[in-house]
């Protein structure tokens, strides 16, 4: 075997599933012990590329081209030979740690199975080895015994189990498909750190698939940029970032670090919304038969305010209570204590929000797919908040209002007659914004409103938001886990942890000089895009 040959050599791979072309002429190489980043937006074919290396493509796939791994032609192998390679020579980590583990098997069994499958060891011995692997991925046995079930672990811990399965036999290649996308930023940092360590310790090669340029820049030696099933750009990571030779690479880079242009608005003295010691609690499932049901305090005496026309960011990791706070503000979630003041009107604690108050606040949610009733046409979807008006507009007025609102978010009046499934994710978020806008509120709550979008689309939506804020004198409460986005669009930021605001301040001041430990930790964990020589010279 030629020592100089790359560990993985993919030549002119073409893939189609049920006749639809997914990959076209994809070629890539990977040296032993190095890390390759595959970058792409959704639908670029990056995951399918990984699955073709594993030869775990969905039914109905047809493949041409060659994949050579460790000198062997994988594309010609029979199923049993492939089974010997999978898990043994190539390990794989998936995006969704919540579903990637068998819920009815304990973690010890799941790791040991992989070991017992490829090594002729007793079941007992496999468990012993599994324990060692779990230790290695940061799940010490005294804290996380083998008898734990996946549902007893957090997302990050589960991802460690998945990694343990993948690296149990110290494969030559580890494929990590968006391993941190579903995780919080601090957990993401830990997992990336773990992967880096594992790769360097055991001289593994790794393919890291991600949509996040910053992640790739921190981990990968080489990178490949894909779009619509084709490789557009590739090369050593540093070189690619520095040169941004391909226009798409450059566009992606720019979109990732995009900062919309905003006019600084005059902030009034009187706050638009004021929360005073707001408390939200949930009932926990009963643990004992007769004991009182315990309450979980999701929002713990939070006080904050938003002034008219300003954009306030609320950041924090999942479960910190930021969405509950938003829902409480919108009157969608019961409040156990504190008051909400809106333009001087004080809402009764726990009471139903008045129609007048609702009229002043609208919301855009994260998931563009579940935000709309698929049975209604866009016109009806957008017009829904008009229900809050005491005197509904006449029919013509209504049509006019819908059309103008659609136009203001960059859509046309023809779109009013379409159904929601005819739109892309980015367009749907525009429709969601139109729906929020139609009633001319003073405040729009954006609950992770751009988190599900690809970077290029995200940049456009952020521009739209900035533009609308200026023209309509809107205030935003911008909730996100993504620090860079919050930094780019907000005036002030609140950092939330375990139901409380731990730090607040002007955005730039807070990001450049964080005071609270937690804020520091968050900022440190967030991957940073490297500065690009190409951009600094060009602009």
């Amino acid at each position: 075997m030629n020592d100089n040959a790359p560990l993985l050599d993919m030549q002119n791979l073409n893939l189609s599933i049920h006749g639809t072309s997914i990959l076209e002429n994809v070629s890539l190489q990977l040296e032993a012990g190095s890390v390759l980043g595959i970058i792409g937006e959704s639908g670029s074919g990056k995951s399918m590329t990984a699955l073709s290396i594993m030869q775990l493509l969905p039914l109905g796939s047809s493949v041409t081209g060659n994949i050579r791994f460790d000198g062997q032609l994988i594309t010609d192998m029979d199923e049993s030979a492939l089974c010997d390679i999978r898990g043994n020579d190539i390990g794989m980590v998936f995006q969704e740690p919540m579903t990637a583990l068998n819920p009815v098997q304990n973690i010890g069994e799941q790791v040991a199975e992989c070991i017992a499958l490829h090594k002729s060891v007793s079941g007992k011995q496999a468990l012993v080895e599994a324990a060692a692997v779990l230790e290695k991925v940061g799940l010490p046995n005294n804290e996380f015994p083998l008898s734990r079930y996946p549902h007893q672990l957090s997302g990050g811990q589960r991802q460690r189990v998945v990694i343990a399965i993948a690296v149990a036999l110290e494969p030559k290649l580890l494929i990590a498909d968006e391993p941190t996308t579903a995780l919080d930023v601090t957990t993401q940092a830990e997992i990336l750190e773990l992967l880096k360590e594992l790769v360097s310790d055991s001289n593994m090669a790794m393919i890291l698939i991600t949509h996040d340029l910053a992640v790739v820049s921190e981990v990968a030696d080489h990178m490949v940029i894909m779009r619509n099933g084709q490789v557009l750009d590739s090369g050593p990571t540093g070189v690619v970032f520095n040169e941004l030779a391909h226009p798409y690479t450059r566009a992606l880079y720019e979109a990732s670090s995009h900062t919309p242009e905003r006019n600084t608005t005059d902030v009034t003295e009187v706050p638009l919304v004021e929360l005073d010691k707001l408390v939200c609690e949930y009932l926990m499932p009963r643990r004992s038969l007769f004991g009182p049901r315990r309450r979980f305090r999701a929002v713990n005496e939070v006080s904050m305010s938003v002034y008219a026309g300003e954009s306030v960011g609320l950041v924090g990791e999942s479960g910190c209570g930021k969405s509950t706070l938003a829902k409480a503000l919108l009157g969608l979630s019961p409040v156990q204590g504190g008051v909400i003041k809106f333009g001087g009107t004080v809402s009764k604690p726990g009471g139903v929000l008045s129609r007048q108050l609702r009229r002043e606040m609208q919301v855009v949610f994260q998931d563009p797919y579940s935000s709309f009733n698929p049975r209604h046409r866009v016109a009806r979807l957008v017009a829904e908040p008009l229900y809050l008006l005491d005197s509904p507009p006449s029919k013509e007025e209504r049509v006019r209002l819908i059309n103008s609102t659609l136009e203001s978010v960059g859509l046309s009046e023809h779109d009013a007659d379409k159904y929601i499934h005819e739109f892309s994710g980015g367009q749907r978020q525009r429709i969601a914004i139109a729906r929020a806008l139609i009633i001319k509120p003073a405040l729009i709550v954006l609950d992770e409103a751009v988190s599900a979008l690809d970077v290029s689309v995200r940049a456009q939506v952020l521009d739209l938001l900035a533009n609308l804020a200026d023209t309509h004198q809107l205030a935003y409460l911008f909730i996100s886990h993504d620090l860079s986005v919050v930094r780019s669009i907000t005036d002030r930021v609140l950092v939330m942890k375990e139901g409380q605001i731990v730090e607040r301040g002007e955005t730039e001041a807070l990001f450049s000089a964080p005071q609270h430990e937690y804020t520091k930790k968050l900022l440190a964990a967030a991957p940073q895009l490297p500065r690009s020589a190409a951009l600094s010279t060009d602009t």
Partner: protein
């Protein structure tokens, strides 16, 4: 697309529905006329499927029998839907509340009664007959639809557009009608066809044990029980109504499967 089961299913169902409809205006022979002398005739040009033990035309009997089966099943499914769906929606709109608990526990109780037992109890109490059969089958359909619509409604309630509607100040009733119901109709239609086929089977079973439609109204189940003793000598009398039931139920099930595939938004998007 997967029209493999939709087309034959729709064809069979249409066949029996149209037979039932046509029977209102025309049947080859009058099914109430009894002519003992011409009983047990083999199929020929006049009697397409032969005659039964009373000399009645079997083909005409089948047509009118389809009417009975379909009528009982439609009304029974209707009762199940009209009562069950609002209950399910109400339960979903009030999850965790007392109302939800009461509705669902009542459901569990009705479920705990074997369906046929309900039917027997009702018909034993109020006498056999199509109306009582309808009520019996209908009652047992209620929890099916209540459960299904509650579960489906719950998943719709979790969707963001419901939050948006609530943010627009709409109350639970309005949301249930505007947003929840339209989004669970597919499921209800599919389940409806399945319950419909079960209703036809149940009616046949009840008539078979003499608790369903009463003579002289022809019913497939009673045709079967009438021909039970003749299975050795005149097997076609037992085979033909049985086949009619099988084909109708088969058609409905195929239609249900086909509809499920056809209405499934995941599959539709690909189309």
């Amino acid at each position: 697309m997967k029209l493999r089961s939709l087309v034959p299913g729709a064809f069979l169902v249409l066949l029996f529905f149209s037979a039932a409809l046509v029977s209102y205006v025309w049947t080859p022979f009058d099914v109430t006329l009894i002519d003992i002398k011409s009983r047990f005739q083999s199929p020929d040009a006049t009697h397409w499927l032969g005659t039964d033990h009373f000399g009645r035309d079997l083909f005409s009997m089948l047509m009118v029998g389809a009417r009975t089966s379909i009528f009982v099943a439609i009304v029974a499914v209707g009762i199940g839907m009209l009562v069950g769906v609002p209950l399910g929606l109400a339960a979903a709109a009030n999850t965790g509340n007392l109302l939800d608990e009461v509705i669902m526990r009542t459901n569990d109780m009705v479920f705990a009664f074997p369906a046929l037992l309900i039917a027997i109890l009702i018909t034993a109490s109020y006498g056999p007959g199509a109306v009582n059969a309808i009520i019996a089958i209908g009652i047992f359909n209620i929890p099916v639809f209540a459960r299904l619509s509650r579960a489906a409604a719950l998943s719709v309630w979790k969707r963001d557009f419901v939050l948006a509607a609530r943010a627009a100040g709409k109350n639970a009733l309005r949301i249930s009608l505007e947003h929840i119901l339209p989004n669970i109709t597919n499921l209800l239609i599919v389940q409806g066809t399945i319950q419909f086929s079960l209703g036809i089977l149940a009616e046949a079973g009840l008539s078979f044990v003499g608790l369903g439609a009463q003579p002289p109204i022809p019913s497939w189940g009673r045709m079967l029980s009438d021909s039970q003793t003749l299975i050795m000598t005149e097997p076609q009398l037992a085979l033909i109504p049985g086949l009619a039931i099988v084909l109708t139920v088969l058609g409905l099930n195929l239609l249900g499967d086909g509809l499920r595939d056809w209405l499934d938004p995941r599959l539709r998007r690909e189309r």
